[in-house]
């Protein structure tokens, strides 16, 4: 079910130009066609510039999902390597790396994002992705470090040393594959989280810049008319909720499938 929702969303995003009934930024008649309630011609209605909400939502899926996927990819790659190095090397390196993570985790992520993003005026999309990625790896790195710490004491690591494998080889070939289940689960949960974060930031005007639209920025378009033209905000909102829930339940299912014992610990770590 969850997988189905995610697959449908991805297909919609990929085929946006084929599916969307009209151009998402075309303003055919600002006066006559503005703020139309949902109808057969405009299933999701139109906004105050007479743009078709359904088309905007379909194109918005591209941006929302791209941002979420790339930001999560950055966070997961960096967090995994960072945590793995800290755990594998140990000693002073570990202490320094992990004290930095502790410090970073002390600052709420949203606050950190607002502080960073407010520095730019007219933020390019790639930068938004990088910033979302760069603030999303702390919890994961801690989790990976904890796993690597216990994995490196196991006999098969000693066995790998005993056949002459180098440190980096042991880490990449023998230890990291064992951490993979954790990383996959974290990535799935992370995507749902970033979709919501990006929506929140776009809602605050700090995320995706007009005229391109993400689901979050469409909600923002309709925010001041929520009493009269509720459809502008409602439909992208439903899409965000649906996708985020799908990601989370997929993540939970994967976690249960990989190792039911770990779930309690992982929950606590990911929330951090």
């Amino acid at each position: 079910m969850a997988t189905g929702v995610i697959v449908v969303m991805v297909i919609i995003a990929l085929l946006a130009p084929l599916i969307a009934p009209s151009d998402p930024i075309a303003q055919p008649d600002i006066i006559g066609l503005k703020n139309l309630a949902p109808s057969l011609g405009h299933p999701f209605g139109t906004d105050s510039y007479s743009r078709d909400i359904l088309s905007r939502c379909i194109y918005g899926a591209r941006i929302s999902l791209t941002v979420a996927a790339l930001a999560t990819a950055i966070a997961v790659t960096f967090g995994t390597l960072y945590g793995a190095i800290a755990g594998f090397v140990g000693g002073a390196v570990d202490t320094v790396l992990m004290r930095f993570v502790d410090a970073a985790l002390a600052i709420p992520r949203v606050l950190l994002l607002i502080a960073i993003l407010a520095l730019w005026n007219g933020l390019p999309l790639w930068l938004l992705i990088v910033v979302l990625g760069a603030t999303g790896w702390f919890g994961l790195s801690r989790m990976v470090r904890a796993q690597v710490l216990s994995l490196r004491e196991l006999d098969f690591v000693a066995a790998a040393r005993a056949v002459g494998a180098t440190g980096p080889r042991i880490l990449l070939r023998h230890i990291l594959p064992n951490v993979l289940p954790t990383v996959i689960v974290a990535a799935t949960l992370g995507i749902g989280h970033v979709i919501i974060l990006e929506a929140g930031l776009s809602y605050l005007g700090l995320g995706v810049q007009p005229p391109s639209a993400s689901w979050g920025s469409i909600i923002q378009d309709g925010a001041d008319q929520i009493g009269t033209a509720w459809w502008i905000s409602l439909f992208p909102g439903l899409l965000i909720v649906t996708t985020a829930i799908a990601c989370n339940s997929l993540g939970d299912a994967l976690r249960a499938a990989f190792d039911p014992r770990e779930s309690a610990v992982m929950m606590a770590e990911l929330d951090a």
């Binding site: 098969f156 005993a162 056949v163 002459g164 993979l180």
Partner: protein, 342 residues
């Protein structure tokens, strides 16, 4: 005499923890000739596994091999080699197999990959060549349907098959020396015999030497040429397997022998050696075995016994060698008198 394959002399491996120093291996010397099987025997805490890891220089901080130690292997001083030269030797010239084959195999790599990995680390064989060598080695290690087995993961195999994989992994590059740390302890008795037989067959086929670490004297009797008995981080008795097992000199070896259950002598209770190995941070003065010994006298408290020659190629670290009459007067060891509070 020809030069031994490995000559360990005065090996000291100490673990430094704050102010305390644990002298786990404390001045151990022995030789292994090419093609020979030497068994290192001793109970837990005697230093035998640390000795094995020291030879491969796999001791990790806070452990350290002390500077005066020496390990000559194929004419080279292992302790003088750089870390990358040492890596060249591990798995290639000296290989090791571990006690517990389940945890010593990586659960997320197929067994074929793990054997091929060794080949790839040490040679410039292609992925395909390495894979073929892995399969060939699995077949030599007595694995039926090696091509199918190579693509399986460790959890799909039985304990005996896993140990065959470990052996294949260790021997795929035909090392000159195999260190086997309790290779059969974790296995069923029926499988133990098969694995020992396999090791002996491959040893002859490849002409390699084996350093067998075990506490099972039955295994020693079956495969070893020579025996090194360790106690308290030291060698307490060495000699040919036949001599040491038939006529043990050191009271500790004697104790190990009588602690072995025998089929031909029905006894009410199994014989044990009273007490435990003392902590390696505080070896007793004099003889390290004295509190558990039925012959110990005053001399054993004050004078640390050297290795006395007690026969041809037979040495023992016991003062009885120079005061043989003491053997006629056994008494209850101190450790048994103070009771079970140790």
């Amino acid at each position: 005499m020809t030069e031994p394959l490995l000559a360990v002399s005065d090996l000291r491996t100490y673990f430094h923890d704050g102010g305390a120093v644990a002298r786990a291996v404390d001045g151990v010397s022995f030789d292994i000739a090419r093609g020979e099987t030497v068994a290192v025997v001793g109970e837990s805490g005697s230093g035998k596994s640390v000795t094995a890891l020291s030879i491969l220089r796999l001791i990790r901080t806070p452990g350290r091999i002390e500077p005066a130690s020496s390990m000559m292997f194929e004419g080279r001083e292992l302790l003088a080699l750089s870390e990358s030269e040492m890596r060249e030797i591990r798995g290639n010239r000296i290989a090791m197999i571990f006690q517990e084959p389940m945890s010593a195999l990586n659960p997320v790599l197929t067994v074929g990959e793990q054997i091929a990995e060794v080949v790839r680390v040490h040679t410039d064989a292609s992925r395909h060549e390495a894979w073929e060598r892995a399969i060939e080695m699995l077949a030599l290690a007595g694995m039926s349907a090696p091509r199918e087995r190579a693509s399986e993961y460790p959890h799909q195999l039985s304990g005996g098959m896993r140990q065959r994989v470990m052996i294949a992994m260790a021997l795929v590059l035909r090392p000159a020396l195999l260190i086997a740390d309790e290779p059969t302890t974790a296995l069923d008795v029926t499988i133990q015999a098969q694995i020992l037989e396999l090791l002996q067959r491959l040893q002859q086929q490849f002409g390699m030497a084996v350093l067998l670490i075990t506490h099972d004297l039955g295994v020693v009797a079956e495969v070893a040429d020579r025996v090194v008995v360790m106690y308290g981080g030291e060698v307490v008795e060495t000699g040919t397997a036949a001599t040491v097992l038939r006529a043990p000199h050191h009271p500790y070896t004697e104790g190990l022998m009588s602690a072995m259950p025998r089929l031909d002598q029905r006894t009410e209770r199994l014989v044990t050696i009273p007490g435990v190995v003392p902590p390696s941070t505080a070896w007793p003065s004099g003889c390290r075995f004295r509190d558990r010994c039925s012959y110990a006298w005053e001399r054993c408290e004050v004078e640390h016994p050297p290795l006395y020659a007690v026969g041809e190629n037979h040495e023992s670290r016991c003062h009885i060698a120079v005061e043989p009459l003491r053997r006629a007067e056994p008494h209850i060891p101190l450790a048994a008198r103070v009771g079970a509070d140790q």
